[in-house]
């Protein structure tokens, strides 16, 4: 914290010292010119009074100058001027007006000075950062991925401090409607001072995200964040496997490869469509429902574009045993291999690749216009094709929607979602990974349960922690022959035979994580449970976990007396009952 303060004060120092140095010459000039003109007015003899030439006092001379130099002009006071004084007044007027114009011009020049403005912006940024109360993340790079991440983090209730070297993007940041102000600074994020100014050393800084367009800078940010504050978690975007290995060895750094993530998601969409749909549905993607997961057909697929993305895609499809054909204009090592068509994707090359017999096409070039063109051509040649498109720019959404592609994937969105899961809810991330490996029947069953519980409503994901109070209650429950069981907490507060509309997805106890815990699971103090359900279910469970009487009713099925008198009466009535029985 101490060093952070030092940074703020140097910011302030720099701003003041710039102002003072800039204003020194104009101030000195103003003083000299005022002194000369005032002295002249005092020395020059005025109209004679009682036969002797009068002299202006310093006070009157200063007064005269005040309204002359500012071109107000109140006339000649206290008595009419002599001609000599008038001559001097003319001279005073011209030089003092020039001095004033010069001083004001310097002030405007200073305001427009880019260095001064940058110093001011930095100072404002550090002030805004120091005022953040809750947890926050430092985001370096505010491109497509960065802005999606900011939106996601702000939805999850975090503040984000943004550093980007493009002033236009920082300007865009200030125009977005986030619930809290997201401080933004236009600077090179690769400079450690900037990261500290963005709050890296503050105790409530939770993590750093490096998603600038430059891989080298991303790596530098990850290393610096690790050095300056080893406690924060760092997520870094990188496409080179060498760097991934190097960064992963730092321990706190997680590397996200956009191409890898994208092709992984895509192969997931092809082979485990229900898991992919579930992932989409959980993050609240538009138009995704659980009752009809998209099922890509099985057969020959055509991949257009064999860059880093296409290659990674090709590999993962090959690994899953999907026969693929590749179309790419570049002649490469693989071009001699079977199923590689050299040339731009057009009607000829598509036919050559066997578009009539193919079941699906992936338009994976790095140009949206190319991808749209490929989809149009392919659909004209084979209307039954499954169209899968890579959307490179976030702005092109409308075009991809209107072309009617079956599945559109945005690398930036996929990357942002993965990072968001890693940062905000690692439990969901683990859950989805678990489902990818799970049996099909289990996935189908989970989907059915979630669909029954939530239906068409917007799914809500939240984590509850079993408090110490609940843990202590367990002993009392055990004495009565009950226990703290997950299924009991999920009973409806109005009718305990019904259960609330939610599903427990993950149970985390110490370091152990179990998925889809059963209703009979006995809970302990400190357990973390990830739920998915409706908004109403969330409210109900919060009530259950906070109200001991409702909990008692849900677990035992009997409503306890609350008042002391009622308690005593109930106790004595029960005692009498027991006596009668025995």
């Amino acid at each position: 914290m101490k060093r952070t303060n030092a940074i703020w004060s140097t910011d302030l120092e720099r701003v003041t010292s710039i102002v003072l140095r800039y204003m020194r010459t104009p101030i000195l000039l103003l003083i000299v010119i005022s002194a000369v003109t005032i002295l002249g007015m005092v020395m020059i003899p005025g109209q004679p009074v009682n036969g002797e030439p009068s002299h202006m006092s310093f006070f009157h001379a200063l007064y005269f100058l005040t309204y002359t130099a500012t071109t107000t002009g109140f006339g000649e006071i206290p008595i009419e001027f002599s001609d000599a004084q008038r001559l001097w007044a003319m001279f005073s007027l011209f030089i003092s007006v020039v001095a004033w114009v010069y001083a004001i011009g310097s002030i405007f020049g200073l305001i427009q000075n880019p260095f001064f403005q940058r110093a001011l912006a930095q100072r404002r940024f550090s002030l805004d950062v120091s005022r953040i109360k809750g947890s926050f993340y430092v985001l370096c790079g505010f491109g497509d991925t960065g802005s999606l991440l900011t939106r996601g983090l702000s939805d999850a209730g975090y503040t984000v401090t943004v550093i980007d070297n493009d002033p236009v993007r920082i300007e865009a940041l200030s125009l977005r409607d986030y619930p809290v102000t997201m401080p933004g600074l236009c600077a090179d994020a690769g400079v450690p001072r900037r990261l500290i100014a963005a709050g890296l050393e503050m105790p409530n800084c939770r993590g750093v995200v490096a998603v600038t367009g430059d891989e080298g800078i991303n790596r530098k940010i990850a290393v610096m964040a690790h050095l300056i504050n080893p406690k924060v978690c760092t997520v870094c975007r990188s496409t080179s496997p060498v760097e991934e290995e190097f960064l992963a060895s730092l321990g706190t750094v997680t590397v996200v490869d956009p191409f890898d993530t994208f092709s992984h998601q895509l192969s997931l969409a092809l082979h485990r469509p229900s898991v992919h749909t579930l992932g989409q549905w959980l993050v609240g993607a538009r138009g995704v429902t659980l009752d009809a997961p998209l099922r890509p057909p099985i057969g020959i697929w055509i991949v257009c574009g064999f860059g880093r993305m296409g290659r990674s895609l090709h590999l993962s499809m090959k690994a899953c045993g999907v026969p693929t054909k590749v179309i790419d204009p570049r002649v490469q090592g693989e071009s001699t291999a079977e199923g590689y068509v050299v040339g731009h994707a057009n009607a000829r090359t598509l036919r050559e690749a066997g578009v009539e017999r193919a079941v699906g096409i992936v338009a994976a070039t790095n140009s949206d216009s190319n991808n749209l063109g490929i989809l149009l051509t392919a659909r004209a040649l084979n209307p039954r094709l499954f169209l899968l498109a890579r959307q490179n720019r976030h702005d092109d959404e409308v075009a991809f929607q209107s072309i009617g592609a079956d599945l559109v994937m945005q690398p930036s969105l996929v990357t942002a979602r993965r990072m968001l899961f890693l940062l905000v809810s690692p439990m969901i991330h683990a859950f989805l990974e678990f489902l990818q490996e799970a049996r099909v029947s289990l996935v189908v069953d989970t989907l059915r349960r979630l669909n029954e519980a939530v239906g068409d409503e917007r799914p809500e994901l939240w984590t509850e922690i079993i408090s110490a109070e609940l843990g202590q209650e367990r002993a009392a429950l055990k004495a009565k022959g009950f226990d703290l069981i997950l299924g009991d907490l999920l009973r409806d507060t109005r009718d305990r035979e019904q259960s609330v509309a939610c599903v427990a997805l993950v149970l985390k106890r110490w370091k152990q994580t179990s998925f889809l815990p059963k209703g009979s699971e006995v809970l302990q103090q400190g357990d973390q449970i990830l739920f998915c359900g409706t908004v109403r279910a969330r409210r109900q469970i919060t009530v259950t976990l906070n109200d001991p009487y409702i909990r008692e009713y849900l677990i035992t099925g009997t409503e306890e007396a609350r008042g002391l008198l009622a308690k005593w009466l109930l106790e004595s009535w029960r005692r009498r009952q027991r006596m009668a029985v025995s």
Partner: protein, 127 residues
């Protein structure tokens, strides 16, 4: 030799000497303390303040502070003068002159501190 240092030292010392010149004399004798000298002292003091602006060193900060104190004292003296002669019309009484001179004497102290600090700074540098 550094021209900036010369100008700097010149204004600081001149501020002290002019200020002292105004204060010198019987404290309540108006004809020992001409208005012109007070005017010159004020102007040179303000110039000295202006010259010190923008110095980021520790010594520079203290010099600026002493200079501002001297300005404040002298301007207060000028205000007392103006009030007595032009506003309340009491005229230049010995008691008024005494309060003006004592205010200016305070400014002399501040200026002495300035000069002492300037000398010390120069000695420390040994260049």
């Amino acid at each position: 030799m550094n021209l900036e240092k010369v100008i700097f030292g010149f204004f600081i010392v001149l501020a002290l000497t002019l200020n002292f010149g105004f204060v010198y004399g019987e404290i309540d004798q108006p004809h020992h303390h001409p208005a012109l000298e007070l005017f010159a002292a004020i102007v040179v003091n303000m110039m000295a303040t202006g010259v010190k602006l923008g110095d980021r060193s520790q010594v520079g900060a203290v010099l600026l502070a002493t200079s501002l104190v001297a300005d404040l004292q002298l301007i207060a003296a000028a205000l007392v003068w103006t009030m007595a002669v032009h506003v309340t019309q009491t005229g230049m009484q010995p008691s008024v002159m005494a309060s003006i001179v004592s205010l200016a004497a305070g400014a002399v102290l501040a200026n002495i501190v300035s000069v002492v600090m300037l000398v010390m700074d120069t000695m420390m540098l040994r260049r």
